[in-house]
């Protein structure tokens, strides 16, 4: 167990803030890509850390902490998407991931891909994000999302096929960008 986790568990507020700083990027990114709304994403990310603060004594190790953060973030985001499904639709011009454009590759294609991912159903979106943003393998994704490994694999296969199909469509990027 790392020093700041041990100190945070014993009630050290500055150690807890240190933990937040260390994991805020991963938690916020996951929430943002799930919800596609920066305000909702910050709200969910804050809620995740508030819950962590309440249940800190149950966190046994750094690996457990990372697992717990991923699980609670995806669960809260999926719950919110089910309550407010309007967030599933994202016009390309509102893509919140502009700041996340990678130096490698085509920024327009990256935005386009994020917009397409935002159209996937919540569970499939969570699977794709955990696979390609968090770099987890299907077994770990199954544990985080508490679903069978075969379901994870099936989500991945169908999501990739769907993304490839939309990308390969004649005028695909323009068609998606101009979606009503």
């Amino acid at each position: 167990m790392c020093d700041s986790l041990a100190r945070a568990r014993s009630g050290d507020a500055s150690a807890f803030t240190e933990l937040v700083r260390r994991h805020q990027r991963a938690v916020y990114s996951l929430a943002l890509r799930m919800l596609t709304d920066p305000h909702q994403a910050e709200d969910v990310a804050q809620e995740v850390f508030i819950r962590l603060h309440r249940k800190l004594t149950r966190v046994q190790s750094d690996a457990h902490l990372v697992f717990w953060l991923r699980q609670v973030t995806t669960r809260l985001a999926i719950d919110r998407l089910r309550r407010e499904p309007r967030h599933e639709l994202l016009p390309l011009e509102e893509d919140p991931g502009i700041a996340g454009d990678s130096a490698d590759g085509d920024p327009l294609l990256q935005r386009h891909l994020r917009a397409l991912i935002a159209r996937l159903p919540p569970a499939a979106r969570a699977v794709v994000l955990l696979r390609y943003q968090e770099d987890l393998d299907p077994t770990d994704i199954a544990e985080v999302l508490q679903m069978p490994v075969n379901t994870v694999k099936s989500h991945l296969k169908r999501s990739l096929a769907s993304l490839r199909e939309m990308l390969g469509r004649p005028g695909g990027i323009i068609a998606v960008a101009e979606r009503p």
Partner: protein
């Protein structure tokens, strides 16, 4: 082609930082939750003391209530005795009145 798409997905999904001051906002919220409405935090070692004080207060109140009830009972008993005494005196007085009224007739007959 699949690996191309996977690489493009990884590039598109690079993690991004939350807005500035995120950790501070989280800390403020945890502090507010810990000490709601500006109250001072109660240290856990106060709890047994507070519990013992509550039990003691309950015992004292219970004892006071019992004493009060006993005193009320005693007063009621004294009032009953006094009422019986007065009733006895009145009956005695009435008996004497009746007896004195009947005596001259008896004397005249004799």
């Amino acid at each position: 082609m699949n690996s191309d798409l996977e690489k493009q997905l990884r590039d598109a999904l690079r993690p991004i930082d939350p807005p500035a001051g995120f950790a501070t906002r989280v800390s403020e919220r945890t502090q507010r939750r810990r000490w709601p409405r500006g109250r001072l935090p109660m240290h856990p070692h106060w709890l047994p003391t507070a519990l013992a004080a509550s039990v003691l207060a309950a015992l004292v109140l219970g004892y006071g209530w019992q004493v009060h009830r006993e005193r009320q009972g005693l007063q009621a008993r004294q009032q009953l005795i006094e009422a019986l005494r007065l009733t006895g005196e009145k009956l005695d007085l009435a008996y004497r009145g009746v007896r004195d009224a009947a005596r001259p007739a008896d004397d005249a007959g004799a």
